[in-house]
Point group: C2
Chain length 280, copies 2
């Protein structure tokens, strides 16, 4: 089911941001204090160090990133200090940038509503990632927010992604998810997108055929080995925008005091590669 009406609010904001930045790069803010250079808020507490590192990366990359994605595990591992750092990091992202909570939650009823409230109301995330295992009951509480987006796990980039995909069969699970996501996008208020890994280009192409107009959030380039140019070639269409995420290759481009400059350089390099344009 394809809608012929104008794009939803989230897609309009995404496209606008991508025009402004000439970039489909999403920077993953997954801070790991074991890898953060010592000079970042040296001697301060966990919350302060996390926020200082993130703020430096945000400042260095915001003009070449259409979005930032925060994987919640990297914050939750630090307990309450991590949650405070998460909230302060979201607040530090400039207006206009798309902010994605990479939560991969999959729960129902009240539970899902509480998560939606936490991400979309208490914090100002624009989108979050969810698991489809329990069906639309896990999606609809988030998708009730008309100006937000939900990215549903579809074809992930990890080695065991195949365990339950029946990918040899004529009806792989990810194809079912891709088909249903179109219906959800038509039926529910929020934009529905898909998480599709860059490490299996053939499946990425197949998912795009099944979901021609949904936004894709694509992990798996950079450290995981997906090719940036081929990834964009098979997945981006005039109606179907993509966000290509990279985390480690940008955050830890240097682990010395010049990390922010190195992050900026790597983000610009990758953003240019994704557009197949020279670094401006």
């Amino acid at each position: 089911v394809q809608s012929t009406s104008s794009p939803k609010a989230f897609v309009e904001r995404l496209l606008s941001r991508q025009r402004i930045t000439s970039s489909c790069l999403c920077v993953g803010l997954d801070p790991d204090l074991d890898l953060v250079p010592d000079n970042v808020a040296r001697g301060a507490d966990v919350e302060t160090r996390l926020v200082a590192f993130n703020a430096a990366v945000i400042e260095a990359t915001a003009d070449v990133a259409c979005a930032f994605k925060l994987n919640l595990a990297f914050y939750e591992r630090y307990g309450a200090a991590g949650w405070n750092a998460l909230r302060r990091t979201v607040d530090a992202i400039p207006a206009g940038c798309i902010k994605i909570a990479d939560a991969k939650r999959g729960d129902i009823g009240n539970t899902a509503r509480f998560y939606a409230e936490a991400f979309f109301h208490s914090m100002s995330f624009d989108a979050c990632t969810l698991s489809p295992y329990m069906g639309v009951d896990s999606i609809s509480p988030f998708a009730a927010y008309a100006d937000k987006a939900v990215f549903v796990l579809c074809r992930t980039s990890n080695p065991s992604a195949d365990d339950f995909q029946l990918s040899g069969s004529d009806r792989p699970l990810f194809a079912d998810v891709a088909r249903r996501a179109n219906d959800w996008d038509a039926e529910l208020s929020a934009s529905i997108g898909l998480v599709v890994g860059a490490t299996r280009l053939g499946d990425l192409e197949k998912v795009r055929r099944l979901s021609p107009a949904l936004p894709f959030l694509i992990p798996g380039v950079g450290a995981q080995g997906g090719d940036p140019i081929e990834t964009v070639r098979v997945s981006r269409t005039s109606d179907g925008p993509v966000l290509v995420n990279s985390s480690r290759s940008i955050l830890y481009a240097s682990r010395a005091p010049d990390f922010a400059d190195a992050a900026r350089h790597e983000a610009r390099r990758l953003a240019a590669a994704l557009e197949q344009t020279p670094i401006g």
Copy 2:
């Protein structure tokens, strides 16, 4: 693949606890301040009120509960205050009780390792729930903890659980998950269990046939309508223990100042019903 060796540490502890309490009841500590009686730490901050409510329920039910399950969304919705309340609640559960983090996480690599570290090391949970969508990569970082357990979502109790189960086919997804969980239990260090809802008795029975010796965590009795006696009849075997969870029917048995007494009464009633014994 069934092991003929002695049960793993988690299963031994679970069985021991079930013998001591004569109960397979798991009490779900899912506090919602909108439903907590006013007299609980009246006027105090969110963290204090959550901990006070939980502590009263724990004290009232610990001798008839073999386990407590904390759905993390009910804490995360309150941000850092919720995380502190989560940690303090886990600490308030008496030694010997099984403590389950109902997280339904499904992530990989570092991310999964961080969650595992948070639940099993920083906090003293004995088990957590996980989504199988991304395959064994999501399970193994948790299952590296030999004395812990991982309950994998298999057949859930919600209406849209069918969206991707292909349950009309000869190869429903939940049956694949149940089969693979046996292999994981044989291959990985931790105990592997399954989350199987009480609302579809035929599927519960089928999952038990496929996984004769795995512990089952069973939601869906009480408020969701599953029959306690039938649930235990089709799912518990001499080798295959069950944990039957109830949250709302116990926590909010009364919303007046006598809520703890009411919770105790309802927990005893349900525990007795599960064993088909008169309330002692």
